[in-house]
Point group: C2
Chain length 140, copies 2
C-alpha cells in the first residue's frame, strides 16, 4: 500500500483508471477508445504509459488489467469523484451537473483535501454518482 497524493496522474489517465476499475478484469484497448472517444492508437499509447508507471499490465493484442497499485489508485479516484460530486450537489448543482463539473477538475484535488472533506461530511457512504468506500480514507 503506497502513499497517494492524488496528483500523480493527468485527467485523461484518471479517466482510464476509473474505466478500468468499472469494467474489471481484462479490458480491450478498443473498449477504452470507444468509451473515451479517442482513436484506438491513442488508447494503446496511453495504456503503455500507464503500464510503464506500474498502474496496469498490458498483454499486447489481449487486453489490459489494473495492477494492485492501479486498483488502489482507481478506487481513490472513484471516491474522490463521488465525494466532490456530493459536495457540489450540496450547493445546488444537479447530479449530472455536479458529475460533469467534477470530471473536469477532480484530477487536481489532493487526497489530503478529500480526506478532510470526507471527514467533515461524516464519511458518507452514498453520493449522487455512486457509493463511497472508506478503506483509503486517512481520517478514519
Amino acid at each position: 500500500m503506497q502513499e497517494i497524493t492524488g496528483l500523480e496522474l493527468s485527467p485523461k489517465k484518471v479517466q482510464y483508471l476509473k474505466f478500468l476499475l468499472k469494467k474489471g478484469d481484462l479490458v480491450k484497448t478498443t473498449d477504452i477508445s470507444t468509451e473515451l472517444n479517442v482513436d484506438p492508437s491513442t488508447s494503446t499509447k496511453t495504456i503503455n504509459d500507464l503500464a510503464e508507471s506500474g498502474y496496469v499490465d498490458h498483454v499486447p493484442y489481449r487486453g489490459v488489467r489494473l495492477t494492485e497499485k492501479g486498483r488502489e489508485f482507481a478506487e481513490f479516484f472513484v471516491n474522490r469523484h463521488n465525494i466532490l460530486s456530493l459536495m457540489l450537489s450540496h450547493y445546488g448543482l444537479s447530479s449530472e451537473g455536479a458529475c460533469a463539473e467534477v470530471s473536469r477538475f477532480e484530477a487536481f484535488v489532493s487526497k489530503e483535501a478529500i480526506d478532510t472533506i470526507c471527514g467533515s461530511m461524516g464519511h458518507p457512504t452514498v453520493s449522487v454518482c455512486g457509493k463511497i468506500k472508506h478503506s483509503s480514507c486517512n481520517l478514519h
Copy 2:
C-alpha cells in the same frame, strides 16, 4: 460585456490575469516572472499570447495592462477563487489549505457552476481569501 464560460484560459494564464488585476495599471513583465517564479522570457511569451487573444495590451519594454475584456475575466477569476475557497473552508480546510487547493483546480470550474454555488451560499461578500463582488454573477 462578453460571455464568460470560465474555461477559456489555462491555469497559468488565469494566474497571470489575477496578478495583473491585483497590481493594477502598467505592470512589468519582470514583476510577473518574479511573482510566478518563471524566467522573464517565459512571462514575455505568455503575455504575448494573452495580448493576441485580447486580454492585455503589451507595450514592449514598457509594460502590460489589462484590457476591458481582461479586467472582466480577471474579476471573475478572483471571485471564482474566493467562492471555491470559501466552499472548501466549509468542509474543514484551513484558509491557506483551501486557497492552495483551489489554485490548482479553479481554472476548470465553469462560471455556471460558480453562479449556482454563489447563489446557494446567499451571495456571500467575504471569503477566506478576500472580498467577493457580484457584478458578474448571473443569478443575482
